[in-house]
Symmetry: C2
DNA sequence: TATTAATGTCGAAGCGCTTCGACGAACCGG
DNA sequence: CCGGTTCGTCGAAGCGCTTCGACATTAATA
């Protein structure tokens, strides 16, 4: 491999000049720059990342912690990941992927200065990674909202507002008996932030609107979905509006409803909280509140890069939920409220 | 951040001694080692990855190219990824994730010595990345089989054998009219290796067994699956055995078959080629040939690490397919052949 | 007991890059 | 026409680590 000195020699300049051509941190005359550039691609020179990291204390790598936990939809995780990776490249950064949610990986990459910054997904209310990340010298952005962000920046869909929006939508259409088919029990047991926030929004709005909301946890399997639907139909047969917040279970919930004779979009209104592509690839185009996973990933990178470039106060960005009406919801027994 | 010199000073030894304690490359007496180790965790010392990379020309990072292409099942990709990441950690390596299939990313990370080795997924017959990887100084393992591996190691399920096995299984059960519902047209257009190999195996065995195999490409959408099923039933109504090689379409294929009145496991035998968990999470437990994605990922890492530790000739490892009978297949019109 | 071989530790020379201060040359206004 | 800028370039000092050769010690061998 050619080194910067080889390039300097070939171009007849000093190494620092080559470095400045590369970084643009000092003015270089056009002819010199041209000579250097010619030498660079004649030799096929690539700066050594480690040497660069050592000298500049910048790695141009960010870490992405994307725990592959049971109960969370893998395609949705990947949408976040894709957003992060894509946007990181726009900032000339690469992504180091950590799939275990252990704290050890975290301080390996931060302590060892392997990365310039951190993005962490799937944050729990009381996540052990948060204090560790807060103590690191690298800026961190959380996708999700812990109880105490400890000065870290956060970004997520405003699930609280999403919950309220979903209920309002159903109430406005005349539904008074509403249910949530939610995350798998494991997810709730972990106090995953987004699940709890949606439920809070739901309940708050239900109280305000004076309607009932029955909550049913649901495994992301055909069986789990069937059970959830069955117990719902058994314990709250008057239900006419269902909110589904579980990408994996959604198709099976719809299938079970069909088997049980409930016609979605007529007898039963269903609002999904999920990425748009998931909403559209069901048997019926679903009325849904979009979970803009890829965008959130991109915003996370934007935020973390901003903090890298200049000291900035931490901020929390909650994206406003957008509900799109499609064919899975209709007016309820009380008729449209206008 | 504490440096190795700080540790040396604190322990009253030279820096090289600290280094040798860390690497174990030279014998160090127990008391010295103890003093050094105490100093290390008193200071919270972490070696600087860049400095280490520069001095040792080892980064302890491997690159994983996992292009997120249309038509390939995201959960399946993630199983490969999970296998790679997990196993890499066993070798004390982290994973740099590249999701674009462009060659530029490839030589950024190899040329810049950002990684020690490479694992590339989703290999096409004539993949432009292959020659580039072959020219890199880092060892590379391909998950998939290009036309010309150019001295690189490869690992994959033996799709050729899988195709033959699937046909043999159906023929033995008395089916003579067999069909494949395969990958999406985009995947075939890209000449993705595994899709073509499965089809080759299928056809070879069909010729040998004297049966017909109708091949139907299939989008991984409800519509795509329905269309595939419909045209199959229209153009080859005598079909009694179907092989499905398309994780995304599988549930929709089964749904459509049900709608069309074909009882899977009785009228119609279906063999899936997919990961076991996918086979088990269908409406019926599917007879399937396992695609051991996570294992393949792990093997890829094992192979690449072996080449890293000692110069070894390249090898191609094709995992033997295993068919597990479950409830989606049964004897056909000609009855069991024994 | 003299000789050789481990064993344990140190010092110093890099690894390839960035960056700071310095310096000559060209350029400005007064 | 001269002091003060600005521009373009250079040299050298690190960044924090690994690793090689050297050098004492101590243990094993004859």
């Amino acid at each position: 491999m050619a080194t910067i000195d080889d390039v300097a020699k070939a171009a007849g300049v000093s190494t620092s000049t080559v470095s400045y051509v590369l970084s643009g941190k000092r003015p270089i005359s056009a002819p010199t720059r041209a000579r250097v550039e010619r030498a660079i691609d004649k030799l096929g020179y690539r700066p050594h990342a480690g040497a660069r990291a050592l000298a500049s204390s910048r790695t141009n790598v960010i870490a992405l912690m994307a725990p592959l936990r049971v109960g969370v939809s893998v395609p949705v995780i990947m949408q976040f990941v894709a957003g992060v990776v894509t946007r990181a490249r726009d900032f000339n950064h690469d992504v180091l992927l950590l799939t275990q949610d252990d704290v050890s990986g975290l301080d390996r990459v931060t302590g060892g200065s392997m990365v310039d910054a951190l993005v962490m997904m799937d944050i729990e209310a009381d996540d052990p990674r948060v204090p560790v990340a807060a103590a690191a010298k690298q800026p961190t952005v959380l996708i999700g909202l812990p109880q105490d962000p400890e000065g870290l920046s956060c970004v997520d869909l405003d699930f609280d507002a999403a919950g309220r929006l979903a209920v309002r939508h159903l109430v406005k259409a005349g539904h008074t008996d509403i249910a949530l088919i939610g995350s798998p029990p494991e997810v709730l047991r972990r106090h995953t932030a987004f699940a709890e926030r949606l439920m809070r929004g739901l309940r708050d709005q239900a109280k305000i609107s004076g309607v009932t909301v029955k909550v049913e946890a649901c495994d992301s399997t055909p069986t789990g979905a069937s059970e959830a639907v069955d117990t719902l139909l058994a314990t709250a047969p008057e239900t006419t509006g269902i909110i589904v917040h579980n990408e994996g279970a959604l198709p099976h919930v719809l299938a079970r409803l069909a088997e049980r004779g409930a016609v979605v979009g007529t007898d039963m209104s269903v609002v999904a909280v999920c990425p748009t592509d998931v909403a559209l690839s069901q048997r019926i185009p679903m009325t849904s509140i979009d979970l803009p996973a890829e965008d959130i990933g991109k915003v996370a990178v934007d935020m973390v890069m901003a903090r890298l470039e200049s000291e900035q106060p931490s901020e929390t960005r909650l994206l406003a939920p957008v509900l799109t009406e499609r064919e899975s919801s209709a007016d309820g027994p009380a008729g449209p409220l206008d």
